[in-house]
C-alpha cells in the first residue's frame, strides 16, 4: 500500500513538477519543499492531487515541510489519513 502510494506520488511529482528529469534522481527522501522543488502553489496542487486520488482530506496545517517534504512523508500522511 505505502509503496504503491509512493510510486503514485513520485509519478505525479515527476510528471507535474519535474518533466524530463531522470526518475532515479528523485528518491523517497529527496527534499521537496526544503529543496525548492515544491513552492506554495505546487504544494497546493499536490494536496489537491492527493485529496482527489486517495480520497483524503488534508488540513491547512498539514501542508508543511513536516508532512510533505519527502515522498516517504507524503505516503505516511496519506496512510495515516486512510487508516
Amino acid at each position: 500500500m505505502t509503496e504503491a502510494t509512493k510510486a503514485t506520488v513520485k509519478d505525479y511529482i515527476l510528471r507535474e513538477f519535474l518533466p524530463g528529469e531522470n526518475p532515479a534522481a528523485l528518491t523517497d527522501s529527496t527534499p521537496l519543499i526544503s529543496g525548492g522543488i515544491l513552492d506554495s502553489l505546487s504544494t497546493l496542487k499536490l494536496v489537491t492531487f492527493l485529496e482527489e486520488k486517495f480520497g483524503v482530506q488534508i488540513e491547512a496545517h498539514e501542508a508543511d515541510v513536516e508532512h510533505l517534504d519527502t515522498i516517504t512523508n507524503i505516503a505516511a500522511l496519506v496512510h495515516a489519513k486512510k487508516a
Binding site: E16, F17, L18, P19, E21, N22, A25, L26, T30, G35, G36, I37, D39, S40, L41, S42, L44, K45, T48, I58, E59, A60, H61, A63, D64, V65, E66
Partner: protein
C-alpha cells in the same frame, strides 16, 4: 556527543583532546571557528556596524558565549543561549528596562499556556495588547515604554501569532526553553526589525545537521551581512541622489536604482541576525534569496523575505485556501492571495506603529501594496495554470536560456525599482514630480541605450554566475573543504579588518583612504541630513519606510522633542515670517532652559536704546545660533559676550552686548526682514549674519511653504524668482522646492546687498559669519566647501566683512558635538568651540570690534 563528532574521534587522540574536541580535527575546527568569529567581532567594531550596542556589547558577548557554548553538552546549550540572551537584553537596555521587557514577555508567554480555551487566551492577549497600545501611544506615561515596547513588540508582535498557531496544531516543541529562546533570541534586542521567525522551523532546524557545518554557515552569513552593510553604506554615501537633484533620465535611473538597493541595509541586518543564531545551533534558512535576480513577481515574493512569506503562508494563505474548498482553484487562489496582501499592508503599518509609535497610512504605501498585490496575484494565477517546472540540480541552463532569464530579471528589476520609488516617496504627487523633473524625451531615451546595454551585461553576468545551475548542492562536510571555507572567510575578514588600520591605509592614495575611512563610519548621507534637519522645523517623519538607517534614528528620538512652534515659546505670524518667538516666556526646550526676553528674542532683557560706551552686536541666525538643545548661558553668543567683557575690553569703559535675534528655521530672507523690522531699533554697531552652506536650501524650503500656502511673497526679486521658476500652489511640495532651489544663488545675490545696504544706512557693520554644521567628516564635503566659498564671495561682494568659522569643529567627531544622535545641532561643547574660534578671529580682526557708530 553528536553523530558527526563521534566520527571525528580517532584512536590516537590524547585524553584531554578527546574530551574537549573528539580528536585533532575537532580541535582544528574549533580553532578555525573561534578565529573567524573573533575576526568578525573586530571587523564589526572597525566598521562600526550597525549600532554601538551591537558592536561594543552584543557581538563580543556572542563571541564569548560561542566559545563557552561550544564545549557545553547538548542539553545545556539551549538554557545557556537563553541566559546569554537575557544578558544581552540587560547589556542593551539596562536593569529596569530589561526587567520590564522580560517580565512582560513572560506574561505573554504565560497567557499562551493558560489552561483555557484558545478563544480565552486570544482574548486575554488582545486585552494585554490594548493596554500596551495605550502605553505606546503615550496616553499613560511610563518612563520605560519608549525603550521597551519597540523591542518587546519586535519579539512578540508576529511571533505570538505563529506560536499560538503551532500550539494549537501541536507543531514545534512546547518546552519552556524553546519558547524562551524563540522569543528572547540574542540579536533581537539590537535589531528590532527582525520580527518574524517560524516557530516550528526554529525548533526543527535546531542542530539538525553537523554542528560545525551549522557554525560555519553562521560565520559565512555574518560575513555576508557585513559585506552587504558595507555595500549599503557605499551606495548610500556615494550613489544615492536627493530626489530634488533628479533633473534627467540618467539622474532618475541613478536615483531609483540606488533607492532600491538601499534595501541592502535590511538584508544585511537580517543576515547578521540569522548568522548569529547559527552560532548557537539554529540552522535557519537564509532570510532573503537573491531577490535582485527574481524573474517574476511570484519569484520575487518567494525570495524577497522568506520568513515573511512563510508566516503569511502558514497563518493566512493556507488556512483560507483550505477553507474555501467549495470554490474553484483560481477563485480560492485569488481570494486567499488578496487577503495575504491586505494583511501584509496592514501588518506593515502595525509593525510601524509598534516600532515607531505612530501610524503609517500613506497613499504611496497603500498604492504600492495594491499594485504589487495585483501583480503577484495575476502572476500566481497564470503560473498555477501553466505549472511551474523545476529541476533536480543536474541540468545547467543553456546560454540562450540564460539570456532570456537575464532579460526577464532586468525587466522585473526595472518594474520593482519603479514601484519602490513610489513606495518610498513622501506623496504620490512628489513621485509624479520626480518623473516630470527628469525631462524624459525621445532624445534622452536614445542616449540612454548604452546604459541599458551595460545594465543588461551586468544582469547577464549575474544570471550566469548565480542562476545557471539550481543551487541545491548539500554542504560538503569533509574536513578539508571545511578548512578551505574557513580560510577564505578568515582571509576576507582579516583583509577588511586590516584595511582600516592606519598602516594599511597609508599604502592607498588619498581618495581611497578617504573612502575607506568613510565606510568605517555610520553616518547619514546628504539627503538624509537634510530630511533630518527639515524635521526640526516641520512636522515630518524623516523616514517614511524601513528602508534606511534614518527611521532607526527617528525611532530613538525622544517623544518629548517638539518643534519650537509646538511650545509656548513659538507662535505663527500668519505672514511671510510664519514664526516668531513669544516675548517673556521661559521653558525647558529639548532638555535645556530657554528664556525669551520681553522683545521676543532669546537673550537677557537688554534696553532697546543702546547704553553709552557699549559696543553692541546683533546675532542673526537659525536654530544653531538660537541655541537649540543648549541652555541660555551655553549659547556661543552668550559665552563670547562674557569673554569679551572679561578679557578683551581693553578699556574699562568699553562693554560688549551681544543680542541674539536668531530664530529656528529662519533663512536669509527672513533675517533680512527681521533686520529691517526689529534689529535696527536696537542700534547695533555690527550685525553677525550667521550662515551655513545649507542656507540656500533653507531659503528654498521656506519660499516653497509660502508658495504652497498661497501667501504673499515680499521683495520684487523674490516675486520674479517665483515667476521664473513657474511654480504655483497647486504643484507638489517637492516639485516647487526642486524648481526654487535652482534660484538659491540668485536670491542670495539679491538679499545680501539689501542686507548690507540697510546696515550701511544705519551705520552698522555687516559681518557674514560662516558657521560649521555638525556632521561626520566626509559630510564636510566638497559640496559644502564649494557652496560656502560661493556664498562668502557673494557676501563679500555685497560689502560684508567675512568671518569664516567653518573649521571650528575640525578634529572632533560628530557624536562629541551634537545635541543628540537624532539632533545635529551643536551641543554645549560645540558652542564653546564656536565661541572660542569666534573670539580668536575677532581679536585678529580688530576692525570688527572697533567699528563703533
Amino acid at each position: 556527543m553528536s553523530k558527526v563528532d563521534a566520527n571525528l574521534t580517532s584512536p590516537t587522540s590524547s585524553g584531554w583532546l578527546r574530551t574537549l574536541f573528539g580528536d585533532w580535527m575537532g580541535a582544528a575546527k574549533f580553532l578555525s571557528l573561534a578565529i573567524q568569529v573573533g575576526l568578525l567581532v573586530l571587523v564589526v567594531r572597525q566598521f562600526q556596524l550597525e549600532n554601538r550596542v551591537f558592536y561594543e556589547k552584543i557581538m563580543p558577548l556572542a563571541f564569548g558565549g560561542f566559545l563557552i557554548h561550544y564545549f557545553l553538552p547538548q542539553r545545556y546549550r539551549l538554557p545557556f543561549f537563553i541566559v546569554l540572551s537575557v544578558v544581552g537584553i540587560y547589556a542593551a537596555l539596562g536593569f529596569p528596562n530589561s526587567l520590564w521587557l522580560i517580565g512582560l514577555g513572560l506574561l505573554l508567554i504565560g497567557i499562551c499556556h493558560l489552561p483555557a480555551s484558545l478563544a480565552v487566551r486570544v482574548t486575554l492577549l488582545l486585552a494585554m495588547a490594548a493596554m500596551l497600545v495605550v502605553l505606546r501611544l503615550g496616553q499613560i506615561k511610563v518612563a520605560w515604554a519608549g525603550v521597551v515596547l519597540p523591542i518587546l513588540a519586535s519579539m512578540f508582535m508576529f511571533r505570538l501569532m505563529v506560536y499560538l498557531y503551532d500550539l494549537k496544531h501541536q507543531k514545534g516543541k512546547t518546552s519552556l526553553p524553546h519558547a524562551l529562546a524563540y522569543f528572547f533570541m540574542l540579536p533581537n534586542v539590537v535589531f528590532p526589525l527582525f520580527p518574524v521567525v517560524d516557530y516550528s522551523t526554529f525548533c526543527r532546524t535546531y542542530y539538525d545537521s553537523d554542528r560545525h557545518q551549522i557554525y560555519q554557515k553562521g560565520i559565512n552569513l555574518l560575513l555576508l551581512g557585513i559585506i552587504q552593510l558595507m555595500f549599503y553604506r557605499a551606495i548610500n554615501y556615494y550613489w544615492m541622489l536627493p530626489p530634488e537633484d533628479v533633473k534627467s533620465l540618467s539622474d532618475l535611473a541613478q536615483y531609483m536604482t540606488a533607492n532600491y538597493l538601499l534595501i541592502l541595509w535590511l538584508i544585511g541586518l537580517f543576515t547578521l541576525v540569522v548568522g548569529m543564531l547559527h552560532l548557537f545551533g539554529f540552522n535557519l534558512p537564509k532570510p532573503m534569496q537573491r531577490f535582485f535576480l527574481a524573474a517574476s513577481f511570484t519569484d520575487f515574493w518567494r525570495r524577497a523575505n522568506v520568513y515573511w512569506k512563510d508566516f503569511m503562508q502558514k497563518v493566512f494563505f493556507y488556512p483560507l485556501y483550505f477553507r474555501l474548498r467549495k470554490l474553484g482553484a483560481t477563485s480560492r487562489l485569488l481570494l486567499a492571495l488578496a487577503v495575504v496582501f491586505v494583511c501584509t499592508w496592514f501588518f506593515h503599518a502595525y509593525q510601524w506603529f509598534w516600532i515607531r509609535g505612530s501610524f503609517l497610512f500613506s497613499a504611496p504605501d497603500m498604492l504600492f501594496w495594491a499594485i504589487f498585490g495585483v501583480l503577484v496575484i495575476a502572476n500566481s494565477i497564470l503560473e498555477n495554470k501553466r505549472g511551474r517546472q523545476q529541476a533536480l540540480g543536474q541540468r545547467a541552463l543553456a546560454f540562450t536560456e540564460i539570456v532570456v532569464l537575464a532579460l526577464r530579471v532586468m525587466g522585473l528589476f526595472f518594474i520593482v525599482t519603479v514601484l519602490w520609488s513610489l513606495w518610498t516617496s513622501t506623496s504620490v504627487a512628489d513621485w509624479v514630480a520626480l518623473w516630470s523633473n527628469a525631462n524624459i524625451t525621445l532624445d534622452a531615451l536614445i542616449k540612454f541605450i548604452p546604459i541599458l546595454a551595460l545594465a543588461f551585461g551586468v544582469f547577464l553576468t549575474a544570471a550566469y554566475l548565480f542562476e545557471k545551475t539550481p543551487q541545491r548542492a548539500a554542504a560538503n562536510s569533509g574536513f578539508f573543504p571545511f578548512l578551505r571555507t574557513a580560510a577564505v572567510t578568515s582571509a576576507v575578514s582579516l583583509f577588511l579588518f586590516l584595511s582600516g588600520k592606519p598602516a594599511a591605509l597609508a599604502s592607498f592614495d588619498n581618495r581611497t583612504q578617504e573612502i575607506i575611512r568613510d565606510l568605517q563610519t555610520a553616518r547619514l548621507n546628504q539627503h538624509e541630513v537634510e530630511l533630518l534637519t527639515r524635521g526640526y522645523y516641520e512636522n515630518l517623519n524623516a523616514a517614511n519606510q524601513f528602508n534606511s538607517q534614518l527611521w532607526e534614528l527617528d525611532m530613538k528620538k525622544s517623544d518629548d522633542w517638539p518643534m519650537i512652534q509646538e511650545t509656548a515659546a513659538g507662535r505663527g505670524t500668519g505672514d511671510f515670517m510664519r514664526l516668531e518667538l513669544v516675548p517673556s516666556t521661559s521653558l525647558i526646550f529639548h532638555n535645556a532652559k530657554v528664556t525669551i526676553n520681553r522683545w521676543g528674542f532669546r537673550d537677557q532683557d537688554y534696553e532697546q536704546k543702546k547704553p553709552h560706551g557699549v559696543y553692541r552686536i546683533a546675532v542673526l541666525g537659525a536654530s544653531g545660533p538660537f541655541g537649540s538643545g543648549v541652555s541660555d548661558d551655553e549659547i556661543f553668543e552668550a559665552i563670547l559676550e562674557a569673554r569679551l567683557n572679561r578679557e578683551n575690553g581693553g578699556k574699562p569703559s568699553v562693554k560688549y552686548e551681544l543680542l541674539n535675534f536668531s530664530v529656528p528655521g529662519y533663512c536669509t530672507i527672513r533675517q533680512l526682514l527681521l533686520l529691517e523690522k526689529k534689529v535696527v531699533a536696537f542700534e547695533p554697531d555690527a550685525v553677525f549674519l550667521c550662515a551655513t552652506p545649507r542656507d540656500e536650501i533653507s531659503l528654498a524650503r521656506h519660499l516653497t511653504h509660502v508658495v504652497k500656502d498661497g501667501g504673499d511673497v515680499p521683495f520684487d526679486f523674490l516675486r520674479t524668482i517665483v515667476q521664473k521658476a513657474e511654480v504655483n500652489k497647486d504643484m507638489s511640495f517637492e516639485q516647487i522646492f526642486t524648481r526654487l532651489k535652482e534660484f538659491g544663488d540668485e536670491a542670495l545675490a539679491e538679499a545680501f546687498p539689501r542686507f548690507a545696504q540697510i546696515c550701511r544706512e544705519h551705520g552698522i557693520l555687516p559681518v557674514y559669519v560662516l558657521t560649521p554644521v555638525v556632521t561626520p567628516a566626509a559630510e564636510k564635503l566638497k559640496r559644502d566647501a564649494k557652496l560656502s566659498t560661493r556664498f562668502m564671495n557673494l557676501a563679500q561682494a555685497a560689502g560684508f566683512a567675512i568671518v569664516n568659522l567653518s573649521s571650528a569643529f575640525d578634529g572632533h567627531a560628530a557624536e562629541e558635538l551634537r545635541v543628540k544622535e537624532w539632533d545635529l545641532h551643536p551641543n554645549a561643547k560645540g558652542h564653546q568651540l564656536l565661541a572660542d574660534r569666534l573670539y580668536e578671529t575677532l581679536r585678529e580682526n580688530s576692525r570688527i570690534l572697533l567699528a563703533t557708530k
